[in-house]
């Protein structure tokens, strides 16, 4: 499959993520959109690493480890995202307990 398709999909996912973050007021949906952006980047990383490997093996049969660092990045991002989700969701739960709302427009106590 040409690399362009992966790029289009990633661009679409990332744009959806940004628009969601900017427009939605529900904290959980904002959160989901952030995850969406992270995963679009993951997708792009995996796609490029596969492409890189394909080009390398075409020139040299023994170059079997080329591009693996891109996939390693993906694992890192997934681990960080998981940790972030656990903290973020905990914050949202505490938020709901205190304010009975998850609307981010209410969260303006930090101003001034």
């Amino acid at each position: 499959m040409p690399i362009q398709y992966y790029i289009y999909l990633s661009l679409a996912l990332f744009s959806i993520g940004i628009i969601g973050v900017l427009t939605r007021r529900n904290a959980i949906i904002v959160f989901m959109c952030i995850e969406l952006m992270l995963n679009s980047v993951n997708l792009l990383l995996v796609a490029f690493s596969k492409m890189h490997l394909a080009f390398a093996t075409a020139n040299d049969k023994l170059a079997t480890t080329v591009g693996t660092d891109g996939q390693l990045f993906v694992f890192f991002i997934m681990v960080v995202a998981a940790a972030e989700v656990s903290v973020g969701l905990a914050i949202i739960v505490m938020l709901y307990r205190n304010t009975h709302s998850v609307d981010i427009n209410f969260l303006n106590r930090l101003k001034n």
Partner: protein, 645 residues
């Protein structure tokens, strides 16, 4: 022996540290012993160094590298040669006598001020020794500044008196003006030659590596420095005001240290000056006019120390005349003899002031001859020496300068002789008013008149002896063949100049006539002065005409105040009231207000709305990316991406 030369300035430095730090703990006698002992130790080493130089010749002792940057090396080195070893003897020898004298003179001071006094005195001697010993202009400049600082500290020693503080500031500022000239000359030398070491500079100058303009400018700037330090027109007014300090300090400033620095510097740079005839003429004319000008002022002063101060300015003028006409040996010779008799005069005056309970007005003295026998005799000898009566020391040195001046231009001689006659007149006016006639002070003062203690009279006797016989090391050719031992001793220093400039010889018969006539004239003036003031009674009449002009020192201080000081005050007031209040304060407050206003506006951005923050964040990221790829690369990649599809 020359290796030990570093000990010479080290002793006074140690004395300064001990007395300065321990002035509250040490007892007065201990302070006096440390202060005088340090200088005595220097004197002993100086004598050894002098004898060494006399038998083994000159050398340079390098202690450590002082400044070493690319292309410019200035070592901390000492020049041990005939000229510096001679000055070492004068400074430490007379300095020691003045220290000894001070132990008695300053004895009424409180303990800690007594310690402070000796600490300053030692620092003064240290700075002067550094100035003399340095083997390049930079080290000389350190000492040059040091003596300026110490003169400030000592003139303002009684700092509770505001007038004295003013005099101290005046001395310091006048010196700074001269120092600027000196500093510029040193920079010029380093810029042109890349070195400030004497030997390199002089050899480069003799090899004509400096253009005539450079040499003239450098020597003129150096001379400006000498004007400040050695009190020549137009920077001389600080020296008479320097009388505010204790009397031994005046003796130190006027005789052994400070004012001789300018003479030393020019004598040291004699080759440069010989190669710049224009500057030499300037030096001679400034020296001569200072000699005359100060002598006229001294005629009418009534403060015993003021008369002596103006006589110093006048004598320094003679030394510069000597330097200007190429009589370097004569100038150095006069420095030496002048150091003897001027130190003696000041210390004698101190003895008189001590006996008179701090009365300095000679109109209220008189008849002190029978009360102060030792002071009287020594003072008389010093007066004879400064007036130039043979065979006292002043005769030989002054005669040598005047003869050289006659050889250069007879006009110099006649004007100089006029100054010498005035010197004889005002010195014997001073002597007669102080020691002869009847006592004119109060009865209480007369009752308390007493000869000073031995610590004060011994220096007087030693200096009187030197004043009488000091001239015998420079007997002119006229009297005896090859008897001028000083000239032979200093010949290596001035050899370069002697090779360039032809000597002006005066015919022996003519010299005899000039000598005879001048001596007769001086004696006549002395007799006239003694006769006219012997029966002096204060009549309280105001002076008028020229006399008033002279009594008020030609109104030079007033002129300086009107032309320089007051406009400066006005300018300072303008800056203080207009520029600072409006411009500076306005700018500072304006910046404050701007920040306050800006932050009040910026505060509105912090709305607390998470959505707003996110939008700003995204926009900022977009902007940063656009800035990063500001050459439209991003557009190029995007179009390629979609074209390939």
């Amino acid at each position: 022996m020359s290796k030990l030369v570093y000990l010479i300035p080290l002793f006074p430095l140690l004395g300064f540290l001990i007395n300065g730090l321990g002035r509250k703990q040490l007892s007065k006698s201990l302070i006096g012993i440390v202060g005088s002992g340090a200088v005595l130790a220097s004197f002993v080493v100086s004598v050894l160094v002098f004898l060494d130089v006399k038998s083994n010749g000159a050398s340079v002792v390098t202690l450590f590298p002082f400044i070493d940057v690319k292309g410019l090396v200035i070592p901390f080195a000492f020049q041990v040669d005939q000229l510096s070893s001679l000055f070492l003897l004068i400074i430490t020898g007379i300095g020691f006598l003045i220290h000894l004298y001070s132990t008695a003179y300053m004895h009424e001071e409180e303990n800690q001020h007594y310690g402070r006094y000796f600490a300053y005195l030692n620092l003064f001697v240290f700075s002067m020794l550094l100035l003399i010993l340095g083997s390049n202009y930079v080290i000389m400049f350190i000492g040059w500044e040091g003596v300026g600082l110490c003169s400030y500290l000592l003139i303002g020693y009684w700092f509770k008196n505001n007038d004295y503080n003013y005099a101290a500031k005046k001395a310091f500022i006048m010196n700074r003006i001269g120092d600027l000239g000196f500093l510029l000359a040193v920079f010029w030398l380093i810029f042109k030659l890349g070195t400030a070491t004497y030997t390199d500079v002089f050899s480069a100058a003799s090899l004509a590596k400096l253009s005539a303009f450079d040499i003239t400018a450098i020597t003129t700037l150096l001379f400006v420095g000498a004007m400040g330090k050695s009190a020549q027109i137009p920077l001389y007014t600080w020296l008479p005001d320097a009388m505010a300090g204790p009397t031994p300090v005046s003796a130190l400033i006027h005789a052994a240290t400070m004012v001789t620095a300018g003479i030393y510097m020019i004598a040291r740079s004699n080759i440069l000056y010989t190669m710049a005839p224009g500057t030499q003429t300037l030096v001679a004319i400034v020296g001569l006019s200072t000699a005359i000008f100060a002598a006229t002022i001294a005629l009418k002063q009534n403060d015993i120390k003021k008369v002596l101060a103006y006589s110093t300015v006048s004598q320094l003028g003679y030394m510069f005349l000597g330097l200007g006409v190429g009589a370097y040996t004569g100038a150095v010779f006069h420095v030496m003899t002048h150091a003897f008799f001027k130190a003696l005069l000041f210390l004698g005056a101190g003895s008189v002031i001590h006996a008179m309970h701090h009365e300095q007005d000679i109109r209220k003295m008189g008849g002190l001859k029978k009360h102060l026998p030792i002071t009287h005799i020594t003072f008389l000898l010093a007066c004879l020496a400064i007036a130039g009566i043979p065979p006292f020391s002043g005769f030989f040195s002054k005669d040598e300068i005047l003869m050289a001046a006659y050889g250069k231009n007879p006009l110099y001689y006649y004007v100089g002789l006029g100054g010498a006659l005035m010197t004889a007149f005002y010195m014997f006016r001073l002597y007669t008013l102080t020691f002869l006639g009847g006592f004119r002070g109060t009865h209480e003062q007369e009752h308390h008149l007493h000869e000073s203690p031995a610590a004060m009279t011994i220096p007087l006797i030693v200096l009187a002896f030197l004043s009488v016989v000091g001239g015998l090391i420079g007997i002119p050719e006229l009297f005896a063949k090859d008897a001028h031992s000083l000239e032979h001793f200093l010949a290596p220093i001035f050899a370069g100049s002697a090779a360039i400039a032809e000597a002006h010889h005066v015919e022996a018969s003519q010299e005899w006539i000039l000598l005879g006539v001048s001596t007769v004239l001086i004696i006549a003036v002395i007799v006239y002065a003694v006769n006219s003031f012997k029966k002096y009674q204060a009549d309280g009449a105001e002076n008028s005409g020229v006399a008033k002009l002279l009594e008020n020192k030609w109104y030079v201080d007033e002129l300086y105040n009107a032309v320089i000081v007051n406009p400066l005050h006005l300018l300072a007031g303008f800056f203080k009231n207009i520029i600072e209040k409006n411009l500076i304060d306005g700018a500072v407050n304006g910046v404050g207000r701007l920040v306050g206003y800006g932050s009040r506006q910026l505060r509105l951005i912090q709305s607390g709305q998470v959505g707003n923050y996110l939008i700003i964040m995204v926009l900022a990221i977009v902007v940063f990316i656009l800035i990063w790829f500001n050459d439209l690369t991003i557009v190029y990649y995007l179009t390629r991406l979609f074209k390939m599809a």
